[in-house]
Subunit: 185 residues, 2 copies
């Protein structure tokens, strides 16, 4: 089910969304995710369960929507002085966050929803961070790999390893970044 | 919950497993996955629900166990005459299978289980196929990338793109294989 985008800030719809998201975050912090239900979220948010069903379709879609919101980067990548240093600092932090308990839960929630819209959004957030790094590198006159290539060679192996049971350590992440950077020079 | 490995073929435990797996496959073919329950699986398999709970813990673990079994390759990669041709043929088929409806459902089931054991097993099956291709290439005296590198540069981007909403087409898969092969020459 598609979640409405571009809600008018402060509008009734935006207030409902903010209140439901807040209720989900609070309940997930207080109890096991298996215990979180739509009626309990509705009660906490002060809306009716049917408001939630109408808007999100089912619990899994709502959890995915909240997870994506939490995966949205809250600041641009750190400027570490060069494209390579920027990509390395970003990738190390990304690998660390995504392989943490909450990071894994969020990826799982995003991927568990039937509609793929949230997974795309999540990938797009990551891509935007790489675009920012690439633009800064370009402004400095540095060689930097194509953004798609950085996604394939740095982001994809990090996520694949996290999902399939082999957490990438910092040395591994640095090797991925070095390889992707070599391809650009 | 860990599922017992290396069951004695034909033993009682192996027969229970085969019968439960068969029941799951049949039910998934007949109805929506949301309608499949442990009691319905138990009834079809001719075992008690508690047998299933004891052995698999919960429905998600059982679905993951069945999905991994279906993801196990049933033959070695096609010998297409060279390491590059072998890897290309294998990767195209892999991308096609994994991005199909059933392929996505299987990946989702494997990843949704809390215990990571099945995800590791799934990754290991894939790795073994690449090892076979690498060994054949070596026997022919050809250059072939390190298996970890082929996992990072070919398998990871295929799965990342499938999971995050951008199905890799054949041209994309060929480009990934060509790049990985270049790294070895």
């Amino acid at each position: 089910m598609a979640v409405k985008e571009n809600l008018r800030p402060g509008g009734r719809s935006a207030r409902v969304q903010a209140s439901v998201h807040k209720a989900v975050r609070e309940l997930l912090a207080e109890m096991n995710r298996a215990e979180v239900t739509i009626p309990s979220i509705a009660a906490r948010a002060g809306v009716t369960p049917s408001t939630i069903y109408r808007r999100w379709g089912d619990l899994q879609e709502l959890l995915a929507d909240v997870a994506v919101e939490r995966l949205r980067p809250d600041m641009p990548p750190i400027d570490a002085g060069s494209g390579k240093a920027d990509l390395q600092a970003w990738a190390e932090q990304y690998a660390e966050e995504m392989s943490s308990g909450p990071g894994r839960e969020m990826i799982r929630d995003v991927l568990a929803a039937q509609a793929g819209a949230n997974a795309c959004k999540c990938c797009e957030y990551t891509r935007q961070q790489i675009v920012l790094i690439a633009e800064r590198a370009k402004a400095r006159g540095e060689a930097f790999p194509d953004v798609d290539r950085a996604m394939d060679e740095v982001v994809a192996p990090i996520i694949y390893r996290i999902l399939f049971g082999d957490v990438p350590d910092a040395a591994r992440v640095r090797a991925l970044v070095a390889r992707a950077m070599d391809s650009a020079s």
